[in-house]
Each structure stands twice: as C-alpha cells, then as structure tokens.
C-alpha cells in the first residue's frame, strides 16, 4: 500500500544500481572473449534501461507521490535528449557528410544558410547542459504553473499533458522547425572530445548513468521522506484539506513537477549519449503511457518500483522482440492487464507480501487523482 514509508528500500536499490553499473562498465573493458567480459551491446542496453529508469523515477515522483497522472512526461525526456543532441550535433563539426563546420548536415541538406538563433552557443557543452535541463524545466514550470493554479486535475490534467507532448511531436516532425524533422539528430561523433563509439567512453557513460540514477534515487528518497514529501502525499490524498492548513497545493505540486521534469530531461540526455539518436518519435504519447506502465508494473510510489519496472519491462521488450517478434505485443498487452488486475501494487507489492510489520493496515490505494473534492 502506498503509505508514506514504502520507499525505504530506495537506498539499497540506489546502492545496487551504482554497484551493478560500475561492475558492468568495468567488465566491458576486459578483453573481449574473456569469461567475465561484457559486450558493448549489453553495455548500451543497460545504459538505455538506466536512462529509462530515470524517466520512470520522474513519473513516479509526480504520479506516485503527487497523484498527477502524467501522460506527457516523455516530452521532458525528449527535450532533454534534444538539448544534448544539439550539442552532440554541433560537436560533429566539419566531419559531417558535407564537411560544413557551421551547419549540421540536415540543414545543409535542406539548403539552410544560417544557423537558427536557438542553436546559438549549442557547440559549448555548458550551453548544451543549460538547454537540455533549462528548456524542459521552463516548459514544465510554465505548464505546471498554469495548470495547477487553475486547479486542473485528474483526467483533465492527464489529457492536456498528452496534448502537450502530442503538439511537441507534431512540431518536431516539421522540418521547418530546425531540428532535423522526422530524422531527428543522429550521427554523433564524440562528447567533450571522447569518441562516443569507444568502449571506454561507453563504459564511463554507463557508470555515469548508474551513479546519476543512484544519486537521484537517494535524492528522491530524502525529498519524499522529508517534510516536503509528506506535504506532497497530503496534497495527493486530500488537496482541499491542505489548503485550509495554509499550504498552497499548486506551489507544492509545481515544485515536484519541475524536479520531475528535470530528472526526465537528465534521463533523456543520458539516453541520447548512449543510443546516439533522438527524433520526434520520442515525443509520441505512447512513450509517455509506457513510462507510466513501467511505474505501475514496478509499484507506484515506491521509487525502487519505478527502477525495477523500467528495467523489467524494457528487458522483456528486448528479449521478446528478438525471440518472439510476431507475438511479443500479446505478451506486453497481457503484462499490463495482469499488473492492473492482479498486482495493483506492482512487483513491489508482491515483494512486500513477504511478512512485515502489519501496522500499515491503512486505506485502500487512493487512486482518486483529485484528492477528494469536497
């Protein structure tokens, strides 16, 4: 049950994630063929899972703790990815197909003559970081401020988050926007001078992703375990009551919303570093829904569950798109059905059935996104 203290395990998960990522990263640097070595394929794959886990954590923060069912979080993930992608694209420099140091290939291709203003400075890594975190944060801030201020909630909020990511997807598909249209950004060479295809770079990136995920987990745990987390849960369950206590739910929610967007953006940036491509498909509403499903599978409001869910579902996807390519969608569909029907608290709920103090005989899971409305 989603009592407030069901995410104690996050500390151990964080430790585990960091250790595993480091071990894998190190093992990938062993000579290929030795018994313990790990192929670059596995490294990239793990990097992807961990980036997705960041997105799942972001979703868990707003859905599990603030009760905001977001159907548009992939937008922040994708914006983070685009921000990093812009830097990586500029880092290609004159090594593109057309050998044009000033313009990315796709702009040459479409006969652009000048870099659009919003690309200025993107060749500096720091500017890239500002773009990749700042843009999603500002967007989240603006959107959240408008939405929470006017008390948009529940399905209404869900649908407009979906509309947001859908609008962004349509916009980014347009070649006129200057982000490479359908193709997106790809063909990256290096980051801060390190060759992106080098095994050592890959290993470092995986380790970095692991460490960042661990740190975010710890941070989220501290945040949710603290006074703010309690207020958030209070807002989630009984928003109107908190107002009479003098809290401003819109501000409380806005903070977690922006923090969550930042985490998602971070995930996106790490994702693009390891996957090497970002395109408007990342904005697809289906991606956001999937992220919610990872959290549901893992166990909502548990932090650890988000990580488990993201890794588990994506591992399953990797596995079954390879061994049962014609039938894997049945499996995926059935998984969502089974989770909601039989595992309302996800894998974490299952784990917690292992005997534990029975003092948490509390209310049934509160799924009412509104909190109550008096």
């Amino acid at each position: 049950m989603s009592t407030h203290f069901s995410f104690r395990s996050a500390r151990w998960t964080a430790l585990l994630v960091v250790v595993l990522a480091l071990v894998l990263a190190l093992a990938s640097l062993l000579p290929q063929g030795s018994a313990l070595s790990v192929s670059p394929f596995v490294v990239t794959l793990c990097g992807k899972y961990l980036s997705y886990a960041l997105l799942a954590l972001a979703v868990d923060l707003v859905w599990g703790f603030a009760g905001i069912l977001t159907l548009g979080h992939a937008a922040f993930f994708a914006l983070g990815a685009y921000g990093m992608g812009m830097y990586l694209t500029r880092a290609i420099g004159a090594r593109g197909v057309y050998g044009n140091a000033d313009l990315p290939d796709f702009m040459v291709f479409l006969s652009w003559h000048r870099l659009p203003w919003y690309w200025w400075g993107s060749d500096h890594f720091l500017v890239g970081v500002v773009l990749m975190l700042g843009v999603p944060a500002v967007l989240a801030g603006l959107f959240g401020w408008l939405a929470f201020r006017s008390r948009v909630s529940g399905v209404y909020l869900s649908i407009i988050t979906q509309a947001l990511t859908y609008a962004l997807m349509l916009a980014f598909f347009q070649n006129g926007l200057g982000f490479g249209g359908n193709n997106g950004l790809t063909g990256f060479k290096d980051v801060l001078g390190f060759d992106l295809t080098a095994p050592s770079t890959r290993a470092v990136l995986l380790a970095l992703t692991g460490v960042i995920l661990g740190a975010v987990l710890m941070g989220a745990r501290a945040l949710m375990g603290g006074r703010y987390g309690r207020v958030l849960v209070a807002v989630r369950d009984t928003e109107s009551r908190t107002r009479f206590l003098g809290y401003r739910p819109e501000q409380v929610k806005l903070v977690v919303w922006i923090v969550s967007a930042l985490i998602a953006a971070l995930g996106g940036a790490l994702y693009v570093l390891q996957i090497g491509i970002v395109n408007p498909g990342e904005f697809a509403p289906a991606n956001s829904i999937e992220a919610v499903i990872w959290v549901a599978v893992g166990g909502r409001g548990t932090l650890t569950g988000a990580v488990i869910g993201a890794v588990l579902v994506n591992f399953g996807k990797t596995l079954f798109t390879a061994i049962l390519p014609e039938f894997w969608l049945y499996g995926l569909g059935a998984l969502f059905l089974a989770t909601t029907l039989f595992l309302p608290n996800g894998v974490m709920g299952l784990l917690r059935h292992v005997p534990r103090k029975r003092d948490e005989e509390v209310t049934p899971e509160i799924t009412n996104p509104e909190g109550s409305n008096a």
């Binding site: 603290g226 009551r241 009479f244 903070v255």
Partner: protein, 246 residues
C-alpha cells in the same frame, strides 16, 4: 463596536444556480468569544463556513477578519491569517501517520522551497508531543491516520486545528458519531480551547450546545433567525416553528 469585532459578516449573500444558500446574513463575533450555530439542514451553516474560509466567494456583502477583507483572499491565505477549520466529516491525511498529520499542521513552514530542506526541530517535537497528549493519541503516534477509529480521527483533526494555533476555530459538527462520554469530553476540550481562542461551533446536538453554554445563532434559509442564549432562543416561536413545524 464593529472595530472591536474579530469576525464580521455583513449582509452576505451567495446563490448557486439560482438557489440562495446564504441570504443577507450578518454575524459578528467578538475576540475570545465562542459561538454555537444551529439550524436545520440546508440552513446555510456549511456554506457560511465555506465563505469564511475562502472556499466560496459571496456574491454580495463583506467578510472581515481583524480588519482583513476575507473575500479577497484564498484558503491558504485565510488559514495563515489564523482561521482554522475542522470539517464535518473528519478529514485527516490517511496515508500519513498521526505524528505526521500533526507535523504538517504545525504553525510555521508553508512555502514549498523551505519545506524541501526542512529538518525537524526540538521545538516542533515538543509541540507535537504536547498535542498528542492533549488529544490522547500518544500511543497511536506512528500509526497511519487512516487506521484510526472515527472518534480518534475527530480528535486528531482537532489536534491538527490546535497545531495551527489559529485565533479563530471553525468547528463543524465535532461530536457527530461520538459516544456520550466522548461528547462531554469534547465539550470540555472546546471550552478549554476557548480560553485562548475564538471558536465557532456548528452543531445539531442540542445537549452538546447546552453543555457549551454560549451564545447561539439560529440560521434559517441562509439568514439569522434568532440569536441569544440557548434558553431564550429555544423559546422563540419562530425557532420552534422552523424546528418542529410542518
């Protein structure tokens, strides 16, 4: 006299979809006063509370609290001015422990960016423990509030109200569903509270109102029907008509 009033409602009206819930209501509360509001269902008691706490905006009329115009403020601002409210149906944060419920209600931190890095102070611990003793839930402090009995929830909510340290408490049917003993204890508690704060109690239970022994305001169809000591009021023919008529 008006300047001395703590809470002053003047000629307040509000209607929903053409239904006049409050109709030219005027009410004045002196500092330190305890007032009982009675009235049949639909008399506008809860709507009046909603107006005072900012949940509902009146169509006309003025509402002032220590000189502040409440009609311009929203719920959190009014709460911070020092008006606390207890709902008819006990409304506590069920997923949080009793302790946490009180912690969140404690007067003090409200801004999210301060909350992010807030640490529990020894003073807060002391205050919470004091409250736990007052509301007799010391043994339950780590339990999730959702698991409390109905009466315990009522008490917890009163505790939360006290934690806010408001100047004015609005208490909506505090003894609904309580045993006689609990009712008597609650009356005692409210009188205790009234020593330092003003209180408005909305209640049906006449025994309880009698036990409070305060000025009674009778609401009917959104307006004040009668006001005065309980005995005077209960002999008013109009009140008898409203309560017993038809």
């Amino acid at each position: 006299m008006t300047t001395a009033a703590l809470l002053d409602l003047r000629d307040v009206s509000v209607s929903f979809d053409g239904f006049r819930a409050i109709n030219g209501l005027s009410l004045t509360l002196a500092p330190g006063e305890m007032r009982a509001i009675v009235g049949p269902n639909g008399a506008g008691k809860t709507t009046m509370m909603d107006i005072i706490t900012g949940k509902t905006r009146p169509d006309t009329g003025s509402v002032t609290f220590r000189g502040h115009d409440l009609t311009r403020l929203d719920e959190p601002a009014i709460a911070e001015l020092g008006i606390g409210r207890k709902f008819q149906k006990p409304t506590v944060f069920e997923a949080l422990s009793v302790w946490d419920n009180l912690l969140l209600a404690l007067k003090g931190l409200r801004r999210p960016h301060r909350l992010l890095f807030a640490r529990l102070t020894p003073d807060e611990i002391r205050r919470i423990e004091g409250l736990l003793a007052t509301i007799r839930l010391g043994a339950e402090s780590t339990r999730a509030a959702g698991g409390l009995s109905h009466g315990q929830k009522q008490w917890l909510e009163i505790g939360m109200l006290l934690a806010q340290e408001p100047d004015l408490l609005l208490v909506d049917e505090p003894v609904a569903g309580m045993t006689d003993a609990e009712t008597a204890e609650t009356a005692g508690l409210l009188r205790e509270i009234n020593r330092t704060r003003s209180v408005v109690v909305v209640e049906h239970d006449m025994d309880f109102v009698r036990a409070l022994d305060v000025t009674v305001t009778v609401l009917h169809e959104g307006a004040v029907l009668a006001e005065g000591p309980l005995d005077t009021v209960s002999n008013d023919p109009r009140v008898i008509e409203v309560y017993l008529g038809r």
